[in-house]
Amino acid sequence: MWKTIARRFLIMIPQLFVLSIFIFILAQFMPGDPFSGLITPQTDPNRIEELRELAGLNDPVYVQYWNWIVNMFQGDFGDSYTFKVSVASLIGDRGLNTLWLSLLSVFLVYLIAIPLGVIAGRYQNSLKDKTIVLYSFISYAIPTFVLGLIFVYVFGYKLQWFPTSGTKDVEEKAGTLGYYWSIIYHLLLPAITYAVLGTTAIIQYLRSEIIDAQLQDYVKTARSKGIPMKKVYSRHIFRNSLLPIAAFLGFTITGLLGGSFFIETIFGYPGMGKLFIDSIMARDYSVITTLIMLYGFLTLLGSLLSDIILSIVDPRIRIE
């Protein structure tokens, strides 16, 4: 197994290398550059041209690519053209925000989806089941920004139960108890929005797995041995039904850093999804390329993690 994992890591190197060439060239194809947004009657076009030259944007593409790769291997991802801070610290800040939000969201998703999926599967065709299925369809059909806006409006502005934007209150000094509470308090509404919408897949998988499992021979065996239905569900069916969800887990973990553009925009929450789209709009090359490399790496890592997790929970699967 360790050998396989090591091999998978080695394969990642050429994969990421190809990805790096693609994104670098594609980024160059985009019209405009980080300085094209500076056009105003007050700016001197010659100065903008000088800044382009200083930033090395007039060098041939292969020179730029080489500089970028060499710097990246030394852990230097360059500075953001927009924010004028190092890309690493920018992604560090935003990534941390997104990480907290995603962790809470994923936790809430499982908290909602697993019981609902189990109930729907166990009481198939009952009113409970139908209500849950209806909920999962509706939540699947509602666009994120619609529910986000409704939640902000109702819970944020009308009822004023939650803060409506940002990650923390500027009145709280770092390190105090109020400061940490303020962070959690700001997370709740966006996380709930995400969780309400993100449950469909898990509910549906779990439900159909449980329905299938009920008809399996090992369930019949267990029943014929006289084991009570409750125990059959908790011991036999539940564990087996979780397999497809476990298969997702790797991607879920690495996907925590992806962020959600809509949620972050509506809740004014500076995270990775927003950073990614904004950097594309502003042609902030250094941020775009670093983020795509990061996402590429995380996706590859996620698929590896999923395989490993699956081999742990499902004894039939072994990584050779």
Partner: protein, 596 residues
């Protein structure tokens, strides 16, 4: 079973209704706008000032909402910031030296005073004595000189080291490392400095010619290398200021808390603190109605109708320093020579054709229907706020389809094959390619409206790429004189220096229409000439240029815009008149929380 189905169905119906109701008000408004004419807002009636009675409370916190969908950059230094959001925040801790009067010209009432010796090409800046920085250190002329050394430094990567700045004697030599000091900048005593320029023009009174209008705390910044400055705490976290408020705490990209500066030279502010917070545009209207903020900046004028009935808010309005325009491509920019060159055979190189295009556009109706009167038809390329430069006698191109048809006919554009569109004087099929920027869904409708306008007079106008163009691509194409662009719609913010040389001059890269003529060159140089130091002369020069541009019709002014600022009824006094703005130290509140 049947019953259950009904139950489900009715549940779905209820949910759908609920959803529809949530988005309802918006869609209703839109359909109204298309069918009937919306009630026009008389923007001249939007007040400059909000006044609320009541006893003012002791201290208090002013809550400011800053509408933007992106986190702010957080570069809190006047020499280095680039983004408008950073400036809006920084205004509470302003290091501005000069006050301004009519037409945004430098006045004598500020922290510093400007004296210009035109014949010697010199300016003298004198500052008030006994002023202190927010940390208690004395404010001296060194703090006024230091910004020049920041901008001229070889490691400075901002946009402000420009042609204007190099007008200071010795700035370029210092930047290139050939001199240890900027020879044109002399410290006379602790409160006086002298700047020598290569040339002095009237623009110096608008902060042009290289004059820098802000101070920088030298005692805080002097030990930081210029290349490290932009990432330093002195810029990002705790900048010292001579302004009314000083930064107390920052949540990166989201909010800034200011506290009153006890050393402020106009007196300690009455408020205890100011909190500026980013508000997403999607919920800014709801935030105003819920009383989350006292003042909202950058509120989208498009969403005026969402707040116009809010009982807790007064909506203030003032003209923006900007205009929108239609430009015609008449040539190319010669990058080698650095000048615009006109193309005699350009499609739009016919003044009557250009005028016909302009007369055919019903700009007034678009302003009323789509912008609710918050934009008005512009008659000139100088916004009216610049009262002594603006030409109010110009009629511009008011909607007149008959005139448009007549002009087309005179120019030889006739419909010879009866397809509803005119052919060019040679009898060939004729169509104009228009480039326009994409933005809201409104933009699409407006462009279609104008295309219909042009069709009505027989002009076939098509979009350059078949659709609206994203901002970056748009300017890429316009700047590169793309062959698929015959005309384009864009806008300029004029800033406080309305001198048009940088936008219409022969050498100007931003002269996107590439129109040049000897008359134009003369008119432009007249505006910034020595004679124009006399304000009456300069006003005349400005008007002569505006009349000439109107006559040539190479750039057609479209709209002037109104900026709106919603103010909660808890703010005692808030005036946004450019000439009479409420000063920060005088702001007061009449309740503990914003009115809901």
């Amino acid at each position: 079973m049947k019953k259950k189905k009904w139950l489900l169905l009715s549940l779905v119906c209820v949910l759908m209704l609920a959803l529809a109701a949530c988005g309802g008000s918006d869609s209703k408004d839109k359909s109204k706008g298309e069918d009937t004419k919306k009630e026009k807002v008389d923007t001249s009636k939007l007040p400059f000032e909000a006044k609320n009675d009541g006893d003012s409370i002791e201290g208090g916190t002013l809550k400011v909402g800053l509408v933007t969908d992106s986190p702010f950059q957080g570069i809190f230094n006047w020499e280095l910031y680039e983004d408008g959001n950073d400036k809006d925040i920084l205004d509470y801790a302003s290091n501005s030296i000069f006050d301004t009067k009519e037409d945004f010209l430098i006045a004598d009432t500020g922290l510093g005073q400007l004296k210009v010796d035109e014949d010697a090409n010199k300016a003298t800046v004198t500052i008030k004595k006994d002023v202190k920085w927010s940390d208690g250190k004395p404010f001296t002329i060194d703090d006024v000189i230091y910004p020049y050394y920041i901008i001229a430094d070889k490691d400075y990567t901002g946009v402000r080291y420009d042609a204007d700045f190099q007008n200071i004697v010795g700035a370029k030599e210092y930047h290139d490392g050939k001199a240890k000091e900027i020879s044109g900048i002399k410290k006379v005593d602790d409160y006086t400095m002298e700047i020598s320029f290569k040339k002095v023009s009237p623009a110096i009174y608008s902060g042009g010619d290289g004059l820098w209008g802000y101070a920088a705390p030298k005692h805080q910044l002097k030990d930081i290398k210029i290349k490290d400055l932009i990432k330093s705490d002195a810029v990002r976290k705790n900048p010292v200021t001579v302004g009314a408020f000083v930064i107390d705490n920052i949540v990166k990209g989201e909010s800034v808390k200011f506290k009153a500066n006890p050393n402020y030279f106009k007196g300690k502010p009455k408020l205890d603190s100011v909190v500026v917070e980013v508000v997403p545009s999607s919920s800014s209207a709801a935030a105003i109605k819920a009383g989350k903020y006292d003042v909202v900046k950058n509120y989208p004028a498009n969403d005026y109708s969402a707040i116009k009935d809010a009982s807790n808010t007064t909506i203030l309005g003032r003209p923006e320093l900007a205009y929108s325009y239609v430009g015609f491509k008449l040539g190319k920019y010669d990058t080698k020579e650095g000048v615009s060159v006109m193309n005699d055979t350009a499609k739009m190189n016919n003044v009557n054709l250009r005028k016909a295009v302009a007369y055919a556009m019903d700009i007034e109706q678009v302003s009323d229907v789509y912008y609710e009167g918050l934009r008005t038809r512009a008659n000139s390329l100088i916004p009216p706020v610049f009262s002594s430069f603006y030409d109010d006698s110009l009629e511009g191109y008011k909607y007149d389809p008959k005139q448009a048809k007549k002009l087309l006919e005179e120019a030889g554009y006739k419909d010879t094959n009866n397809d509803g569109y005119v052919e060019d004087p040679d009898g060939k099929e004729f169509s104009i390619k228009l480039a326009a920027m994409s933005g809201s869904d409104k933009d699409e409708k407006i462009i279609q409206f104008y295309i219909q306008n042009w069709k009505d007079v027989g002009l076939k106008v098509e979009l350059s790429t078949g659709r609206l163009i994203e901002f970056n691509s748009f300017y890429d194409k316009v700047q590169a004189d793309d062959k698929d662009i015959d005309m384009f719609m864009a806008a300029w913010g004029t800033g406080t220096n309305p001198s048009p040389v940088g936008l219409y001059g022969k050498e100007a890269q931003f002269n996107f229409s590439r129109f040049v003529s000897d008359d134009l060159t003369k008119l432009l140089s007249d505006i910034d000439s020595k004679e124009a130091m006399d304000s009456e002369y300069r006003g005349k020069a400005f008007r002569a240029w505006q009349e000439y541009m109107s006559e040539q019709a190479t750039t057609i002014p479209m709209y002037f815009r109104t900026e709106i600022i919603p103010v909660n009824k808890r703010v005692k006094n808030y005036n946004i008149d450019y000439l009479n703005e409420t000063e920060l130290q005088d702001l007061e509140l009449v309740a503990d929380e914003p009115v809901k």
